[in-house]
Structure formats: C-alpha cells, structure tokens
Amino acid sequence: MEQNGRAENAVVVRNLVKVYGKEKTAVDHVSFSVKPGEIFGLIGPDGAGKTSIFRVLTTLLLPDGGSATVDGLDVVKDYKQIRNRVGYMPGKFSLYQDLSVEENLNFFATVFDTTVEANYHLIKEIYDQLEPFKKRRAGKLSGGMKQKLALCCALIHKPVVLFLDEPTTGVDPVSRKEFWEMLKQLKTQNITIVVSTPYMDEANMCDEIALIQSGRLLSVDTPGNIVKSYPEQLYAVKADNMHKLLKLLRSYDKVMNSYAFGEFAHVSFKDPQVNISEVTDYLKQEGLADIELRTTAVTIEDSFIKLL
C-alpha cells in the first residue's frame, strides 16, 4: 500500500463512531478518505461532529467504533507516531497569551523537537506578516494575527497532515479570504490539509469535501460533483417584497423547495418542464412587483439544504 514511503491515502476513516455518555452519538458511522496533498473540507454546522472527528484523528479521543488511519498509521495503536506527524489547530486554540510571538513559535518548535530555522520556508509567507510584531505578546495581537500565529505554530514541525478545526469561525469575510489564500499556498508545499468550517461558501476552496450534519455524512465528493448531482433545475427569484415572496412560494403548489438566498429566493419546481411565465404571473397576481425569475447555478449551500 505504500508509495514512495507515503501511504496511499493521507487519512482513512472507516465507519467511525463516537458516542458521548449513553445516547449522544456525535459521530455516526462516518467513512471518508483524504488523498495526500489535497485540501479536504469537513463542512457542517456546529454540533455536527466535526470536532469529534478531528480529535479522533489527532489521537486525542478513542473511537467507539470503526477505525481510522493517518499517514497509514492507526489512530489507536500508533498514536505516538501520529503525534509526530500531524499539525493541529483546535477550534478554541488561543496560544500562550503571555508569551511573545517569537516565544510561542520557538516553544512549539521545540516541543515538536525541531527548530524554527529548519522549517522556516514553510511559514515564511505567513510569518513575514508577523515579523514586525515578533516581540509583542500573543494576547495583544489582533484576531487575524493570532490566527496566523496559530497556523505558524501548527506548521512549524512540517507535519504530513495538518488538521484545522474551524479556523475561520467568527472571522470577518476579508480575513477569511486571506486565510484560505494561505492554505492554498501551503498546498503547494505538499502538505495534506483537513479543515472544517460551518461556512458553506468556503467549500469551493477545497479539493474534496464531506458535508456533515448530526454526526452523519450527507455526501463526500469534489465540490463540483456535489453541485452537479443536484437533481432539479434551480431558479432564482426576486421581487419588491422579499418576505411576502418567500411566503407565497412556500404555499405555491408547483414549488418543490424554496428558501431565501441572499437577495434572491432559490426555488425548485416539482415539474421539470415548468412554465416560468406562469409562475411570474401568479406572483404578480398576488401583488408583487419587480419580479425577476431566472435559472441559477447550484451552490454547495443549495446542495446541503437539499441533502438535509
């Protein structure tokens, strides 16, 4: 199974089960695999089981069923070796607030038995932005800067697989974009990245994604394929009164699915051959104006809603 000393799949998860207490099933028979060097996104809302999966893969939790390997190593048996090979940025990771940027980085490098110099090329792009503040204590950094430092710390030992648990939660759209740019950069360094996020729009930045809800996987594929497999034609509708439009669509018998989507409402119809002008006329009759109805491209969010 080994190729060039590297496992065929960076991460393999088979029928993974994690139960808390007696009945709370956090992860329910989840299976997926991540190819080396790809960005794999675990996409779902809070409480879907993302963090539990991450913790099993980083050997912090024992699975209650199924198995998992990271870089070909078993998460239960070979936990010590795995701990040498993975980088992990937990959701609430806050660094050492009372240590400076430099000290944090040096500390984590040493803990992982390496030096900052040895793998500086990996973090250079990111660290350059932190360099002016290297003497500043981590607690005094801005949110975006903290996140960059945390990423540097997780990368400093050149991990084979990097696990990022909700790195962009609560972060504004501009910083989120920057963060994903950094991940793309890392991909070129041949590091496998497993990342989780509740933001559906970030799915497109991944090579492959798993949609997850309530501990179950809804779908695992490339974002393109997931979108392609959407069964109906999707339409976007707009009118002068959005709230009224949504209510009308919901009670309209030709409609299969309808929901707000930004400035539009997304709609799919029961009849694939639906007459669009008929729908427009109906909406006009009900008192709406400025109606705009057209076909639209499916997004991951649409797929997610459909799969729920």
Partner: protein
C-alpha cells in the same frame, strides 16, 4: 410616516487615545431590519454597547426608542431585547425555566409569562422539549429559542450579535423567518453577521471600517454603487483597506 427608533449623531467612543467608534450618525426606523456589518475590530461591539446603554459614549448624541443613551439607560434597557451568539440562555436551566426567568426580569406578570411561553413553545414546536435542559438542545434550536426569549417582553428594538454563527443553512433561514415575523410586528431589528448572504436580507446595512461607517444604504444600492455582484464584494472592497483588526 416612518418613525426613527434609533438615532445617533456623531456618536463617539474613545479609550484613551484610541478612538474605537468615531462620529457615527444614522437613523433606524420602526420595523426596519438594520444590518450592522464590519470587520473584526471595526468597532461594532463598542457601538452596539453604547446603543444598548451598557457603555456611556465619549461624545455625540444618540436616542434609543426615544431615550437618551447618557441619562436614560434604565428606560433603554426596558425597551430593548438583546441576544448574542455567546450568551443567550442558561444552559443548566430547562426551556421553560429560561422563559420564566427572562419574562420575570423584564417584569412580565405570571399570567403574561404563561400565555407568552405557551405561544412561543407552540410557534417553535418545542412541546416535547419544555422540561429539557437547554444544554441538550441542538444549537439551531437554542438560537431560535434565545431569539424568542429576547423578544418575549415585546421590546421596541432587538439587538442581535452574530445570532446565526455556526448554525446550519436550514435553521439559519428559519431563524430569519423569526426575524421577519418580528419585524412585521413592528419590532426593529439591529443585527450583526459575518454571513454576507444574510446582509441581503436586511432592509438597510451599514459597513463599519476602523471605527467609521464607510457605507450605509440598501443592499441593492450598495451593490450598484460599488459595481459589485454581491455583498461579499462590497464588503471586501470596503474592509480590505482596514488598518486595525480587533
């Protein structure tokens, strides 16, 4: 016709030399859904605290539901509801206990609380969960419940601080249905969010950068003004040049 329930005039908050919020002026009408956007650290939270009567401004004027933010903070608190992603409900109390508690601190009578809680539980379909601890509810339900609790005392304005963070797309939309319903009843909604599609659901939005309101208009007009296809681009265009963050 429209009646302003929030008015601010050159509202400013300084912390030492640092100007967290710099001369912001705007009005929000009754029943309006007002989106309050900005990058991390732009000053949103500080501004919102002043509007809620939790923080006295350094200068400028503001009235909330007709009350002055300097002198009438107690009246302001009676007339607003507040919900944030971080603190919403007591997790170690049951659904019903939470409703009773929050009804109680806003001075509702036992009878009012009874009718209100029945109504709310039916609306949210929580009949089975009434006696369950809030901690055992899924996040989406928690958020919907805490919104309903925030408007339990029929406030004139409700402040929502990132109410839908981390919530799944379907529940997020159900949440916005609740917001629309409340707005229809005349409640003014003042909401912050990091989801740009949600910005589109607002009647008007303001985008704050480095303590200053850089843009304030309807989503449509903002997109036109910035020649942008969606709010994401508008936001990016404005916030990209931000000097400070958090």
């Amino acid at each position: 016709m429209s009646e302003a329930v929030i008015t601010t005039d050159k509202l400013t908050k300084r912390f030492g030399d640092f100007v967290a919020v710099s001369e912001i002026s705007f009005e929000v009408d009754k029943g309006e859904i007002f989106g309050f956007l900005g990058a991390n650290g732009a000053g949103k939270t500080t501004a919102m605290r002043m509007l809620c009567g939790l923080s006295i401004p350094s200068s400028g004027k503001a009235t909330i539901a007709g009350f002055d933010v300097y002198k009438q903070t107690e009246q302001i608190k009676k007339n607003i509801g507040y919900m944030s992603q971080k603190f919403s409900l007591y997790e170690d109390l049951t659904v019903l206990e939470n409703i009773r508690f929050f009804g109680g601190i806003y001075g509702l009578t036992d009878k009012q609380i009874k009718t209100k809680s029945d109504q709310l539980i039916n609306q949210l379909g929580l009949q089975q969960e009434v006696k369950k601890l809030v901690v055992s509810l899924p996040l989406g339900w928690k958020q919907k419940l805490s919104f309903s609790v925030a408007v339990l005392h029929e406030p004139k304005i409700v402040f929502l601080d990132e109410p839908t963070g981390g919530v799944d797309p379907v529940t997020r939309r159900q949440f916005w249905d609740l917001i629309y319903d409340a707005a229809d009843r005349g409640v003014t909604i003042f909401v912050t969010t990091h989801y740009m599609d949600e910005a589109e659901y607002c009647n008007r939005i303001s985008i704050m950068v480095d303590g200053v309101i850089k843009a304030l208009d309807t989503p449509r007009k903002l997109k036109d003004n910035f020649h942008a296809a969606n709010m994401d681009e508008v936001f990016y265009e404005l916030a990209r040049g931000a000097k400070r963050s958090e």
